[in-house]
Symmetry: none
Subunit: 310 residues, 5 copies
């Protein structure tokens, strides 16, 4: 903090006017930390795949990642703004790395040991634990489109009340899923924009969505998108629409790609589109920690260079 508190950071904090100073302070910590500190851009390393996909699928490609210390060290070395993980991974490193990087505690998680069309994560930790572990924010994943999404919205709403009182910003992962959506529809532009809006309306301070495709899933939406000629040809245009859909850019929205993408050029092109479209940055997990250490560092460095406008 301090020297990185730029006019751009002040401007972004201004979007959250009325939040208590605790929330503002922690948002500022995220925006002023790391190599991108002060730029208004964020690159966050999240590692929840051990829970979400299982340890073998997640860490066997780069076995160093079985050790919880590997990831936080990687994030620190690369100069990320923050490191996000479930309780176990955070607890395993919070004392040893206290004060070296902002931590985001993922408060719900979902495993894939049961085959489900409509996933419904479990609350796996608490605001209380986030406080005792010195976290800077808490995270929660919603699955808009699932049958029981209302349970999640309500749960998020209650956790957000508690988090705000504790001065902790809410980071909301918003992943459209569920029996009613086609596979392609999960990343459709209209659906992604809708998912971002729902997160913002639920009080998210930071929204995380997947990069949208040009597909339009819902007929009623498609009709309007087409009549209003919402540009959606390029990825940058689609990013711009999602940012617009998140309170006209007055909420921080960050993007992830989808599956492990071996082509680093494709990943850099995504970052360029996010930058061009006015996105606030990237959240990169598997594409980082499943790469060998030095490749991962190099990749993150190149992504950050893009967000620095270099």
């Amino acid at each position: 903090m301090g020297s990185c508190f730029t006019p751009r950071v002040a401007e972004i904090l201004g979007y959250y006017q009325g939040q208590n100073p605790g929330v503002l302070t922690n948002l500022a910590r995220l925006l002023t930390h790391g190599r991108l500190g002060g730029t208004g851009k964020l690159v966050i390393l999240p590692v929840d795949q051990g829970f979400e996909h299982g340890p073998g699928r997640s860490f066997a490609p780069n076995p160093a990642g079985y050790d919880p210390r590997y990831h936080v060290k990687l994030a620190i070395e690369a100069g990320c703004n923050a490191y996000a993980a479930p309780l176990g991974f955070i607890e395993a490193i919070a004392a040893e790395y206290a004060g070296q990087i902002p931590l985001i505690l993922k408060l719900n998680n979902h495993d894939v040991l049961q085959d489900e069309k409509d996933p419904l994560g479990a609350v796996t930790s608490s605001v209380h634990s986030a406080i005792r572990l010195g976290c800077t924010a808490v995270g929660y994943t919603i699955y808009p489109g699932t049958a029981e999404r209302r349970l999640q919205y309500t749960e998020l709403s209650e956790i957000a009340d508690e988090a705000r009182d504790a001065g902790l910003p809410m980071v909301v992962w918003s992943y459209p899923r569920g029996g009613g959506l086609s596979k392609e529809g999960e990343t459709a532009l209209d659906v992604t924009a809708y998912a971002a809006q729902i997160a913002a309306q639920l009080g998210a301070h930071i929204i995380k969505v997947k990069l949208p495709s040009a597909h339009l899933e819902q007929a009623a939406a498609a009709k309007v998108y087409e009549s209003a000629k919402v540009p959606r040809e390029t990825l940058a245009e689609r990013v711009e629409h999602v940012v617009q859909s998140s309170f006209d850019g007055r909420r921080i929205v960050i993007f992830s790609g989808g599956a492990m993408n071996t082509d680093r050029n494709a990943l850099l092109d995504e970052a360029r589109a996010i930058q061009a479209g006015g996105g606030f940055g990237s959240i990169m997990g598997r594409n980082v920690f499943q790469r060998p250490h030095d490749e991962a560092i190099a990749l993150l460095s190149d992504v950050m260079s893009i967000y620095e406008g270099k």
Copy 2:
């Protein structure tokens, strides 16, 4: 405590840096008690089968076990690190044997009076009772793979918060079950490793899983295991993978066999594989208390000799 506080115990406590000193102290009590005190290995006697399977099935083979005093005396005589049981069995002996062996109160239990594909245990006691009874840790069973597992994860998460504040380590029994898993899949290597990882991410200080088979249950996992050539031919290799999947060996993982196994040589081979694979020890219930007293003591002695490296 005291003379059994070896460098290896200190090293293991180091994995839990940042936990409050109450949790560290009780972990140390488990690691320094009994014949294996100081070795970093644990052999724990759990007796919850009266609740889980019924008294006749559990104790008729060795009727001395109907008396709650039998088991704790057996554990003390054999030099186990701890004795684990549901409320009733613990209450029945806690005053008479106070200070003679660490006690682990199992906080949830499940009976088999209803035929269920997706078991969901009941909370049967509390952290409050663990404290008044002088317990050293609390235990909780999750069934990853069941339809309602998220209720269990959340319940565990809440109990774990309370237990940690009370300085009590959480021991998590993680048993994959449920309609989506084949019978063979319940002890598949990928599923067992996943179950261990979930327990660790939920904040377990000690994880208890079944010994894994070489089977791979989930297609997406199998693909990675095979491409990454994760060794799984021998039981020792499989133990090693589960230990690795538990934060690269930075969480205590102990193993049980499955059904009552009359062949003591097979049981000793299992212990040898756990030792060779870097496991932290065994939790042995039916195979101990359903044997005649002297056989049980002899078996535990031989198992402990293996963990002593003899």
Copy 3:
């Protein structure tokens, strides 16, 4: 108390070592009151059928029983150890008969206005009311075998924590029921023993089950009962097995017959079997209060004579 505090009472209290002196004192009150005071045997009059079956079914056979005073007077006159009932019946007599007989407040009840395979009682009163009403113990009914039994186990666990802190013993009625059990299975020997064990593990100080039949319900249990040759031909043998299944006789277990049984000889034979099998006594409701007053007194007197060993 006092002259009825015999060595046998002291021996039974010894089974509960570690319980607080409040619980021990109230257990002693139950064991030293009435005609059987000091023998270690109990005969308890419970009247919850008004709630459980409706007033007409319960009291029309002997209309004196509509009056709540009838039952407590009957219990006092007969020299019972205690009188058990739901809140309304207890409140209606607690002041007028204060100090004349120990009272047990039933904390949950279930009506039959809905036809249910899997009954789930309601909490109908509180430990707080038990204290203000001068009760000596509280009661709770579980239905092992029902789909939602885990809700009951957890509720009981929470109430038991509160009751123990208030020095009130828990009396647990354990009635196997539910869709997975055959009608015959509800009183099968293996199932009854299992139900007693569950109550004991949940922390019951006094367990109440139905007299078991020789039937074995669960295949896995039947295999063990037969290979271990658990005697079950006579009722006394079956009582002995249930007592053994209740911590080897270190928890008080009392028995009820089932339906209203007009044949008093059959009832006396049941008491003889309970006595021969080492049971701690009887809980007799309908068979008492639905009989004309003098017959009821005479029946209870004969039952008590059996428990006195006469």
Copy 4:
């Protein structure tokens, strides 16, 4: 309880109509226990002198009394209605003697290590502890006449609220003291009657005062006593006046002598006067436990014979 529940006990309970059944039940327990059970008379053994006067002064004359078990055994053997003591002495025996005699926990105590004209005891235990220890009543000492007595009245009032909710009768020791009273005045008839009235008005269920002398301390009172010709020549007449001053005999009032009185005949004369004057009994401490064991038992026996009207 039970056979000792006489019409006289019912009559006395009738004085307390409107108290909750818990309080009535515990009053009945005091009135039906021991040799005097059912007579409406009480002889209580209190041992708080270890705290109030110091252990040497209290127990050196009969060193068996250093052991907390001595006193409760003495009270049981003699057939007292209850045993009263501070927390330490009650805790030391409550489990071992649970159910053998009603216990009264003295909730405040005062030592004599500071020379004070106006003593002000300390709260040394709680209603919570009385419940967990299985006590039948709680006790509290007030010093009417002291400068800060209002602090005590208020403290008693708050404890009494809590005790009543817990079904525990309040026994109030009412000892006039303080700078404004002459030494003789502390046991003056008018002052003793006044002290009893204050205790009754504060909600005491049982009042304990010293035997009054014929002296009248307060001029305004003396004028009325003389004009109204209140009889006060004999001790029995004075007892009668104190009983009358305690709601016309509708509150239980028991009496103590003062200092250790070696003359057993004088003590028996006091009991005869209490009996003749309609007092409810005696509370005898030092005069009992400082005597050799057999003398103490004989003395209590003779006192009880007097209360039995023999």
Copy 5:
């Protein structure tokens, strides 16, 4: 625990029957730890002088003692049963030395920055902190004889209720002080015995007093001591009387000398007298930590040899 759980430890735990198993377990931990583990004797190192007397007075004689780690290491090296200190010193070492020695958290402290005849300590920590820090017991100092001692007794009573519920034994330092006592009277035999009795009556599980002189302070007591011929010539006789005054030896009483005593032989003579008089051990602070390290270790070793009966 374990091998040090001797019949003598079981006998001492028997004095505390009725305490919850949590308290019994922690008492056992104190009695089975260190070189004296299992003997029934204790040597405890307390370091609260930094607060009580100031750091310069306390640590300048041996400046190594400014470092909080010095003391706990000394206690571990010497094989003490426990180490006692205020919050700051405990917090500074609890994680690093977790599991190596039982810790006692002093819950109140008093500084000497104000010149007071009647000291009244401040509560400086909580049962909650004791639990999170993994402490085995909590300590509290009372000053019987001071004008406001009743405030301390009540505070101790409330803390003791909370500590017992949390399974933590209360260690009570009982130091007679205050305007009413002569300087000599503070360690008079009658006053010391009285102080021990008060602590025991307030529910102390372990009592700490100073070694008494032969002086008798209070006239009323002196009369009884002389008429009852209480032996008090030798220090061993006086220790014996204090032990007797602590529930006839059924509460653990340990002794400290007074001021820093450079003569090690005098200190060893004190230990011999404690041993001869049946005391439970020593609590040695300044005489240990103000000596050079090796001298301190040697002194503690010689004291422990005395308690081992060598």
